[in-house]
Amino acid sequence: MLTVAPRQVSQQVAFGLLIVATAIVVVPVIVIILQIIINGGGAITWDFLTQPPAQAGKAGGIFPAILGTFYLMLGTIIVALPIGVLAGVYLSEYARENWFTRTVNMAIVNLAGVPSIVYGLFGLGIFVLAFHFGMSLLSASLTLACQALAMTVTTSREAILAVPREYREGSLAVGSTKWQTIRHIVLPQAMPGIITGAVLAMSRAAGETAPILVVGAAFFLPALPQSPFDQFMALPYHLYTVAAHIPGMPKTTIWGVALVLLVVVLSFNVLATIIRLRARKRRYST
């Protein structure tokens, strides 16, 4: 009477499959990270992080590439964050449903779906050539910012929409204007979400290779960039070149570059998670 019915067996099987599928998700991440740490850990020395490369990257360090990547992230977010937040506020608070907002929303979705090399060619055509910014940090930052906009607009809009209606009503009910309500209630509440999106957009910009390839990244430069109009080195492009184009490259160096890039990108993702968790804790704690 209390024997195991077939439907319970099938439940067990389904449950097992779900667990296996979930576990498989984790495996590549762990393998990639371990592989890079094991193979590249040996390359990480103080000199590797602080010296310029020598002998076509076979010796010396990767400091200019690290610095260039940070400049890129900074340039990207300086452009993409304000525009993203302002557009997010407009779309969530002011825009009515009409052809204009429908067009904007469609553009945002498509912005996110455009292959990154296409952004590169767009940047080459617009920023490098048409605007005469040349192959430069500026051109590359603007190009990556265009790509990051999709994310900053979307996350800003979502974060703003997630602010409870009760707060807005409470503010309006004491005679605040709509803008005061946005400025003093909505944006502070939405800020952790907005910052999280911005940080993720930065980490993605740090990892992009294809777009910067055509708008200003160089494999080797004798000097660090002095202005936004200078060319720059960047970690992903450096990795691509040392891995694919330099014969006789020590394997440890290649893995070492990969490790540094991975640490930069992951640390920004971790930072985003911390910001989100802290905001959540603050909101619910007393």
Partner: protein
């Protein structure tokens, strides 16, 4: 009638001046009519209770007085709503200034996620008061008026979300009082509170009615009977539009209703 509550003496309050009124007021959400042809006077320094079954448009009616319905797209209003003889639905009305005069307390306590002090100071700050000492005065005065001061005196800098539900609602009342309104709208302010907290809010309302005009929407018949001077009974017609069935002094509505439907409702035969 067998409502087991004592009706307070309301002689004093009911002969006040008319502060707000509606004339032939109808409200539409798109093609749906939510309120039909409502004409009613709100007395100064009295508590007017709006009662009636769910969905009869009580909250919608209340939100007319500070134009909170404006936030919903597709709302259309016919007729007039007046404050001191001025139609607040006129084109050149400053809605922000109106909402400063006509404050609102909501169903669910909605303190902002900031300190107790900043919650109360929020309104005054938006209206340009930034002097810390003046703000501190306003905050203290408002919290005292809202009968909350003694409980929060030593935790003004703590998060308002740490307060109990009843305290939060009194904080929201203090927040409204801080901008010195003349009319206070309350949308079922006790529906999320326990009976003790509810009674405290009712006491508070009675005190506030000495200097403010109060309109309260409530589901709770006892509350309307206990706390209000005037009562307006709303119902739905067959097309679900809300209508005003009967309006008069609370004592009369609860002891000697003129309309059969009012009597049925307050004796619990429906709704």
């Amino acid at each position: 009638m067998n409502i087991n509550v004592e009706l307070p003496d309301k002689k004093a309050a009911v002969n006040g001046e008319v502060r707000m009124n509606t004339r032939n007021l109808s409200l539409f959400y798109g093609s749906f009519q939510a309120l039909r042809d409502i004409t009613l006077d709100i007395q100064e320094n009295a508590i007017t209770a709006v009662i009636g079954p769910s969905g009869c448009g009580k909250s919608t009616f209340l939100r007319l007085f500070n134009r909170m319905n404006d936030l919903i797209t597709g709302v259309r209003v016919e007729g007039s709503v007046e404050l001191d003889g001025i139609n607040i639905y006129d084109k050149d009305i400053d809605v922000v200034a109106l909402r400063k005069k006509v404050g609102m307390v909501f169903q669910k306590p909605n303190p902002f996620p900031m300190s107790v002090f900043e919650n109360v100071a929020f309104g005054p700050r938006r209206h340009g008061k930034n002097n810390r000492a003046e703000l501190a005065d306003t905050v203290e005065k408002s919290l005292k008026q809202a009968a909350l001061w003694e409980e929060v005196e030593d935790k003004l800098e703590q998060s308002a979300l740490a307060l109990s539900g009843g305290q939060q609602q009194r904080l929201c009342i203090a927040r409204v009082l801080a901008v010195e309104p003349e009319v206070i709208l309350m949308d079922e302010p006790c529906s999320a509170l326990d009976p003790i907290a509810t009674l405290r809010i009712e006491d508070l309302m009675r005190n506030l009615a000495e200097s403010y005009t109060i309109v309260i929407v409530t589901h709770n018949m006892q509350q309307a009977a206990r706390a209000s001077d005037m009562s307006a009974f709303f119902m739905m017609e067959e097309d679900r539009a809300g209508i005003l069935v009967e309006y008069g002094p609370t004592a009369e509505i609860f002891t000697n209703p003129k309309d059969k439907r009012t009597e049925d409702y307050i004796t619990g035969r429906f709704g």
